[in-house]
Amino acid sequence: MRLLVANRGEIALRIFRACRDLGIETVAVFSDADRTAPHVAAADYAVRLGPAPAAESYLSVPALLAAAARTGATLVHPGYGFLAENAAFARACVGAGLTFVGPAPEAIEAMGSKIESRRRMRAAGVPIVPGMAAPAREASEIVAFGRTAGYPLLLKASAGGGGKGMRRVEDESEVAAAFARTTSEAKLYFGDGAVYAEKLIDRPRHIEVQILGDQRGNIISVGERECSVQRRHQKVIEECPSPAVSPELRSRLCDAAVAAARAVSYTSCGTVEFLLAPDGAFHFLEMNTRLQVEHPVTEQVWGVDLVTEMIRVAMGESLSVRAEDLTPRGHAIECRIYAEDPRRGFAPSPGTIVSLRLPAGPGVRNDVGIESGSVVTIDYDPMLGKLIVHGVDRPQALARLARALSEYEIAGVDTTLPLFRRLVADPEFVSGTIDVHWLDRRLQPGFLDPPPLSREEVLLAAVTLSDSPASRETGRPPAPASRWADAARRESLRGPS
């Protein structure tokens, strides 16, 4: 048996490892930018898809189907991102006689539309944020909804996701302009201009429940994850369990998540996301019909291999675990390590990894997609990998996170590691009293400034220069500082993109 992963980077390697554990051969696909990437070197088979741009390679359905045919792959796993929540790709795989390792296309479609998924959730009795039941045809419908529900509102593109296509509206005077802009953005980004309004939940937590279903009607939940540490709606740190969820609340969240999955007859690994309001009420946000980036924290705490389960149920097997046999142990935390410079507004930092030292020892799991010498290009998502730590409780997990971060070294590109080193010592993060906007508030100028140089740092620098007279003589004279300070200042003028 052979499984093709229609993806790259750490998630391709993660799925290949599950295949090895199951005795399934692996097929990698690659673009011209990735011929020497780790996921290719780890596979039993590998097929070139096309040039570097994703549209011509990792998003090319014909190239992917041809690669499966050429290598005799019978299973296709989409990973996350790229074609992972694309119902047409799932249908194309099935049409080509392949087993798609994911939910049925109908479930992807139902949950892919915000309006349709809200309609189904309402019918299934899953609590949803008060909102319009259909897209607004004109701004006046939003004004009418706002008078009923109260401000602030959140305008949302029905086809949106991942924090894109949303706009906060403070009062009635902003509605017309906000509606026009959100509609045109929704058309531009998602090809669908449908926009509706919801009541905005202020300072919520993002809590999500892991779901596993099989083709025999079994659907179970595998606990919740806390994903409130976000930067501009992008998850940065995830934990399992949530410090804010009591056993009683967990039970209600999991029941609602199973009801949500049951409403679309879910048959794979998936995640139901909720907003948890400060008053303890929770509301369905969306369901991700795929493997989640942050799935490892659930695996560490609940002792379940989500990827092997996902592959097994795709092949028609029953879930190997029952809900009543699962008990959580300890606490896990994941950091997403990106090739971005958190000290320069998270600007992308492509380049060559000149040295890579991964942490090790008890409670440390590395899921990374790079090696020493890897080139981080500008073509794809800049996530390099994930650091996952596990401890007997949250304090030990935090201590192990600090320890693992002190061992971690990536040289050659800037990464988000300095952000995590700062956050793991932050009293508010450590106390767990956060919400989805907390990090954006916390990231004020100077938050990540390094402390003054220590004596050790000064001497290391001086020893390095003493030891390398050649590099000193060939180095160009330093550019006047003002230029670079100016550039950094200009950088901060950039709008979000």
Partner: protein, 186 residues
């Protein structure tokens, strides 16, 4: 004892400080900020350096000279750049800064490798503060490079679609809202 090297280090906004490194009887001796430190340095097989001080403290990190600003350093607390220059260079840099007045031409440079997606201005164009000059793609992001004060575009150094290295010169803007005639730059 024989002097090995003298460097001048500057932290952001800090005053320059001299470091003297000399070889001592059993290791190195550094004088810095009025303190004398005796220590020993060993190169590790993976390229890091381990410093061992007289009281037993050990400090391990990786550092390499960087072309534009001194030293780039990695250790347990993460990466940090350290601006180090020799005294002569440092004086030159200071002088340059003092000359840098509001009337000076402003260079816009790429902060990271990328590709030019769109150029919104041409040589001679009058530009306002906040006006979009050009758009660069790096990774999946479009980065807008905007002007931060009014002026006239003195030159555009790149073309659409061009691949850029980090630090590449993009556009030069001559400041001033009066707008001296284009083309007369020296």
């Amino acid at each position: 004892m024989k002097a090995l090297a003298v460097y001048v280090l500057r932290e952001r906004d800090g005053a320059p400080q001299e470091i003297h490194i000399e070889s001592g009887i059993s290791g190195l001796v550094a004088s810095y900020a009025g303190i004398v430190e005796r220590f020993e340095a060993a190169a590790l097989p993976d390229g890091r350096v381990s410093l061992l001080f007289e009281d037993g403290r050990q400090f391990c990190g990786r550092a390499r000279p960087a072309a534009t600003f001194g030293i780039e350093m990695w250790h347990a607390s993460g990466r940090r750049p350290v601006r180090i220059a020799d005294p002569l260079r440092d004086r030159i840099a200071h002088a340059a800064e003092e000359v840098g007045s509001p009337d000076e031409e402003e260079e816009f440079r790429a902060l990271m490798p990328g590709r030019v997606i769109e150029i919104k201005v041409a040589e001679g164009d009058r530009v306002e503060a906040g006006q979009l000059l050009l758009v660069i793609e790096a990774m999946k992001m479009h980065n807008e490079i905007r002007c931060d004060r009014p002026g006239v575009v003195a030159s555009v150094e790149v073309s659409t679609g061009q691949l850029l290295e980090g630090g590449a010169l993009l556009v030069i803007v001559r400041p001033g809202s009066d707008g001296s005639s284009p083309g007369s730059s020296p």
